[in-house]
C-alpha cells in the first residue's frame, strides 16, 4: 500500500487536486440530478437522479443499450449532457471534458484496453504524466516505480515488458494499476472481466477491494450477477435509458434485479419452437485448424446447434474454418452426405453456408457505405445483367430486407455507421437472408443488441428452421444458447469437451465444463 502512495509521491502534485477535498465515507461524493442525454430527438438517458456515496462499490446493471455507456461517457466528460446537474463533493460541476473529469479524480477502466500496445508497461502507466528531470524522461525511475506498484498489487507482471506482449487480461490489470496511481477518487469499471480468466478476475477483485479500503469510490458495471453480488454494496438498474431503481445488495436478489432489468420473463424473450429434425446438412469429422482441434459435430435441418464457451475457446475459429476463411488443417467436412473441400468463402456460400460473424464492426459491415450496398454485397453477381447491375432489382432487394427485418432507417442510402447495434445486426442478417442458405452460422448475434431486437432475432431463427435450414448459434451468453439450442456443445481451449441435448444439463454443469475446473 505504501508503495502505491510512494508512486503517487514521485509524481507531480498537479493531479492530487481531488484528494485535497476528501468526503467522509458514506457521504455523497457524486450526485446526479435529473441528468439527461438526448441525441437528436432520442433520449439515450432519460432524466436520472443517482447518488454515489464516498467509499462504496456501486454496481450498475442493465441490458445492452440500457444507457450504461451513455452514463459512463457523461461522467468521464466524453460527451456533454443535454440537461440536469452534476454535483461533485457537494458543488455543481460541468464535467465537460475528459481532462476535467481526470483533474477531479474521476477515471474509468474500459472493457477494451485503450493504451499503447507498442510501449512498455511502465511507459503506459506513466503515459501523459512522465517523470522528468530537466526535461529529460527518467526511464529507469519510471520502470522501478511501476514495478514496485505492480509487485505491491501482487500482479506478477514485468514493468519493462511491451504491453502488446501481454494477454488482454494482463493489459486490463495494467490499465487498472494505471488508474489506481493517478490520485483517483472515483473509478469506473466498465465490464472489466469480459476478457479475463478466473485468476485474473480474482486479482482484479482484490485490487478493487483494496482501492475501496483506501477510500476510493468504485462504480462497477457488469451484467454478471454473481460478480455484482460478490462485490457491490449497492446496485442501480437501468432499462431502456431509464433509471428504474437502486437497491442495497443485502435487500435484493437476482430474480428481482433481472425482473427490473428486462421487465419481462425469460420465456417471453427466448422464443423457442421445436421442429422435427430433418436430414443432416453438415457433418464435421475430427476437423482441426488454426485455433480449434478435433471437432466432430453434425447439424440437421430444423435444429439449432449451440456452441458455448469462453471467449477464445475456439468457437469462432471453428466457424471461420467451416466457412473457408481459414483452411482446416485436418479432418473432413461432409455437406449433405458428400465430402467437400471448402477452400474459400465463395465455395462455402455456393454450397449454402452463411456466416454472420462475431464482430459487426471488423468483419460484418462496411460501415461507411450505405445500408443497401451492405445488404446486396453477397448477391451482386445475381443482380448483374450483362455488364451492369439491374438498378431496380438492387433497390427492391435492399428495400425488401429493410422492410422485412424492420430496420429503422429512412432510406437504404443511409450509411451503416449511423445505425445502432441492433439495426446493424439486422443489416448483417439481411445480407444473408437475401443470399439464402441451408446453414446459417450466427456468431454472437445479440451482442450490443437491445432486448426487443433480441426477441425479433430469435423469432427469425424459428422462421429459418421452419423453412428447413439449420443453425449454428455461437454465444458467450449462457442463457441464450441454453434456452435456444436443440443440442449444445461446449468448447474449451479449441476443443469440443461436452455435448448436451436441449436443457439436459444444468447451467452450473455447462459453465463448469466451459471453464474446466
Amino acid at each position: 500500500m505504501t508503495d502505491l502512495q510512494d508512486a503517487r509521491d514521485v509524481r507531480t502534485e498537479g493531479l492530487q487536486v481531488a484528494t485535497r477535498h476528501p468526503v467522509p465515507k458514506g457521504e455523497p461524493i457524486l450526485e446526479l440530478r435529473a441528468l439527461q442525454k438526448k441525441y437528436g430527438t432520442v433520449e439515450a438517458l432519460k432524466p436520472a437522479s443517482l447518488t454515489f456515496l464516498s467509499g462504496e462499490i456501486h454496481a450498475i446493471v442493465g441490458e445492452n443499450g440500457a444507457g450504461k455507456s451513455t452514463l459512463i461517457k457523461l461522467l468521464t466528460g466524453v460527451i456533454k449532457r443535454t440537461s440536469g446537474e452534476i454535483f461533485w463533493c457537494g458543488k455543481p460541476v460541468q464535467l465537460g471534458t475528459p481532462h476535467e473529469a481526470i483533474e477531479r479524480g474521476i477515471n474509468a477502466v474500459h472493457q477494451e484496453v485503450v493504451l499503447c500496445a507498442h510501449l512498455s508497461v511502465a511507459a503506459n502507466m506513466f503515459l501523459g504524466d512522465e517523470i522528468n528531470r530537466n526535461g529529460v524522461m527518467r526511464k529507469r525511475a519510471m520502470t522501478d516505480a511501476a514495478q514496485r506498484v505492480l509487485d505491491d498489487l501482487g500482479f506478477n507482471l514485468p514493468a519493462g515488458a511491451v504491453l502488446g506482449s501481454l494477454t488482454i487480461g494482463q493489459q486490463q490489470l495494467v490499465a487498472t494499476a494505471r488508474a489506481a496511481m493517478r490520485g483517483t477518487q472515483f473509478l469506473i469499471f466498465d465490464e472489466p472481466t469480459a476478457y479475463l480468466t478466473r485468476q485474473e478476475s480474482a486479482q482484479l477483485f482484490r485490487l478493487i477491494r483494496r482501492l475501496q479500503a483506501e477510500g476510493v469510490t468504485i462504480v462497477y458495471i457488469s451484467h454478471r450477477m454473481e460478480e455484482v453480488f460478490e462485490l457491490a454494496d449497492r446496485v442501480s438498474v437501468l432499462r431502456d435509458g431509464t433509471h428504474v431503481g437502486t437497491r442495497k445488495i443485502g435487500e435484493t436478489n437476482e430474480a428481482e434485479l433481472i425482473a427490473l432489468m428486462i421487465n419481462r420473463t425469460i420465456e417471453q424473450i427466448y422464443h423457442k419452437e421445436h421442429f422435427p429434425a430433418g436430414a443432416v446438412i453438415v457433418e464435421t469429422r475430427n476437423l482441426s485448424g488454426p485455433g480449434f482441434k478435433d471437432v466432430s459435430l453434425t447439424v440437421r435441418a430444423g435444429e439449432i446447434v449451440g456452441l458455448y464457451g469462453l471467449i477464445g475457446a475456439g468457437r469462432s475459429e471453428f466457424a471461420l474454418g467451416l466457412y473457408g476463411r481459414h483452411r482446416p488443417t485436418a479432418g473432413e467436412i461432409y455437406w449433405q452426405g458428400r465430402k467437400v473441400d471448402i477452400a474459400s468463402e465463395r465455395v462455402a456460400m455456393d454450397l449454402g453456408i452463411a456466416l454472420a460473424p462475431e464482430s459487426r464492426r471488423d468483419q460484418g459491415l462496411c460501415l461507411n457505405l450505405p445500408i443497401g450496398l451492405n445488404i446486396n454485397l453477397p448477391v451482386f453477381n445475381r443482380l448483374t445483367r450483362g455488364l451492369t447491375i439491374n438498378g431496380q432489382q438492387e433497390r427492391e432487394n435492399a428495400d425488401r430486407q429493410i422492410r422485412d427485418l424492420k430496420i429503422k432507417t429512412p432510406s437504404r442510402r443511409v450509411l451503416a455507421s449511423a445505425m445502432s447495434g441492433g439495426n446493424q445486426q439486422k443489416i448483417v442478417i439481411g445480407k444473408w437472408l437475401s443470399h439464402g442458405a441451408k446453414l446459417f452460422i450466427f456468431d454472437e448475434p445479440t451482442v450490443g443488441v437491445d432486448v426487443g431486437t433480441k426477441a425479433e432475432i430469435y423469432r427469425l431463427f424459428a422462421r429459418l428452421l421452419e423453412k428447413g435450414a439449420g443453425i449454428i448459434l455461437i454465444s458467450s451468453y449462457l442463457p441464450e444458447v441454453y434456452e435456444l439450442s436443440d443440442r449444445l456443445h461446449v468448447f474449451r481451449r479449441g476443443q469440443l469437451v461436452a455435448s448436451h441435448d436441449y436443457r439436459a444439463a444444468s447451467h452450473e454443469e455447462v459453465l463448469t465444463q466451459a471453464i474446466g475446473v
Binding site: Y39, G40, T41, V42, E43, A44, G65, A66, G67, T70, D240, G241, Y323, R325, E345, R346, M349, L355, P357, D362, Q363, G364, L365, C366, L367, N368, L369, P370, L373, N376, L377, P378, F380, N381, L383, T384, L387, T388, I389, G391, K408, T409, P410, S411, R413, V414, L415, S417, A418, M419, S420, G421, G422, N423, K431, D450, V451, G452, T453
Partner: protein, 325 residues
C-alpha cells in the same frame, strides 16, 4: 424507445444526394473560374485557348480517374507519373524498331497492365503497403527508361501518331475526346457494375467484403491494373503530343492526379469517390494554371495558389460531409 434509434434519429443525409450536390458545386466553381477569367482577360474565351485548356487538362484527368479506382480501395498509386514517362519511351522505342503503330500501342498498354499487376502482386502476395511498392516502381521505372534511352530521348517519326494529338474532331481536340473514351467506360465500371461496388466494399472493410464472398485479391489487382493502364494510355498521348519518348517526362504528375482526385471528393481513407469528381478536379487545376499564365502570374505563385486551393476545397468538402452526418 431504447438506444435503438439513437443514431439513426440523428439522421444521415442520403449519400448519393451529397455526391451529386458536391459534383454540382465543383462544376459551379469551374464555371465561375471560366466566367471570371473571361472578364479578366481578353484571350481566355478564344477557340485557341479553350482547345489548349482542354488539352492541358485531358492527361491529368485520365490519370486522376485511374488513380481514383486505387484510392477508393484505400490504396495509393505514386507511380503513375513514372509510368507515363516510361511508356512514352516504350512506344517511341517500338516505333523506332519498326513495329506497326497498332501493335506498338497495344504493347505499350500491355506494359501498363503488367506494371499494375506487379503492384497488386507486391501488395497482395508480399504484403507491402501500396505507398511503398508504388514508390519503388516510381524510382525504378524512371531508371529503366533512362537505361533504354541511354539518358537521352527517342524521336518519333511516325506522322500519323504525332498528328493525332494536334487533330480536332467536331471542333474539339482529340485529346479531350480521349477523356470521354476513358470516362464513359470508367463510369459504367465504377457506378453501374458490381466490380465498382466491390472496390468500395474493399476500401471500406476488406474483411467484411471477403466474408461476403468478394474476391478481395482480384479486386485489388483490378484497381492497380486500371490505374497503370490509364497511365500507359496517357504515356501514349504524351508521346504523341511532344513527339519524343523521354523517361524524365511527366515529373510530379502523380501528385497532380492525386490532387485532382481529392479535389473531386475522393477520400484518401477509401470507400468514397466518383468518376466525375476527379474529372472536374483535373480541369479546375488546368484552368488555374491556364488563367495564371494568361494573367501573367509568376509561375512560382501558381504553385502556391494551387496548394492553397487544394486545402480550401478539401476542407470545405470535409465540413460538408461532417454536417451531413
Amino acid at each position: 424507445m431504447s438506444a435503438e434509434t439513437v443514431e439513426s434519429g440523428a439522421g444521415a443525409a442520403p449519400r448519393k444526394g451529397v455526391s451529386i450536390l458536391f459534383g454540382l458545386t465543383l462544376l459551379g466553381l469551374l464555371l465561375f473560374l471560366w466566367l471570371l477569367l473571361g472578364f479578366a482577360t481578353n484571350s481566355f474565351w478564344t477557340p485557341n485557348n479553350i482547345s489548349n485548356l482542354l488539352r492541358q487538362g485531358a492527361m491529368t484527368a485520365i490519370l486522376a480517374v485511374g488513380q481514383t479506382f486505387v484510392i477508393i480501395t484505400a490504396g495509393i498509386d505514386l507511380s503513375v507519373g513514372a509510368v507515363v514517362g516510361f511508356t512514352s519511351v516504350i512506344v517511341a522505342w517500338l516505333l523506332a524498331a519498326g513495329v506497326p503503330l497498332w501493335a506498338a500501342i497495344l504493347l505499350t498498354l500491355a506494359f501498363g497492365v503488367l506494371i499494375g499487376a506487379f503492384h497488386a502482386f507486391g501488395i497482395v502476395r508480399m504484403g507491402l503497403p501500396p505507398f511503398i511498392i508504388t514508390l519503388a516502381t516510381l524510382t525504378s521505372l524512371r531508371g529503366i527508361g533512362l537505361l533504354i534511352t541511354n539518358g537521352s530521348t527517342i524521336s518519333i517519326t511516325n506522322e500519323a501518331f504525332t498528328n493525332f494529338s494536334r487533330a480536332d474532331f467536331l471542333g474539339v481536340p482529340s485529346l479531350f475526346w480521349m477523356v470521354i473514351v476513358v470516362a464513359v467506360p470508367a463510369y459504367i465500371f465504377l457506378h453501374l457494375s458490381r466490380f465498382g461496388r466491390y472496390l468500395f466494399a474493399v476500401g471500406s472493410n476488406s474483411e467484411a467484403a471477403r466474408l461476403s464472398g468478394v474476391n478481395v485479391h482480384r479486386t485489388i489487382y483490378l484497381a492497380y491494373i486500371l490505374s497503370s493502364t490509364c497511365a500507359a494510355f496517357v504515356g501514349l498521348l504524351l508521346a504523341s503530343r511532344i513527339g519524343i519518348g523521354n523517361a524524365t517526362q511527366a515529373e510530379g504528375w502523380e501528385l497532380q492526379a492525386i490532387a485532382s482526385s481529392v479535389i473531386g471528393g475522393t477520400s484518401l481513407f477509401g470507400a468514397v469517390g466518383s468518376v466525375h469528381g476527379p474529372l472536374l478536379g483535373a480541369f479546375i487545376l488546368a484552368t488555374i494554371n491556364n488563367g495564371a499564365n494568361l494573367l501573367n502570374v509568376n509561375s512560382f505563385w501558381q504553385r502556391i495558389i494551387t496548394g492553397a486551393l487544394i486545402i480550401v476545397i478539401v476542407y470545405f468538402d470535409q465540413l460538408r460531409r461532417r454536417s451531413a452526418r
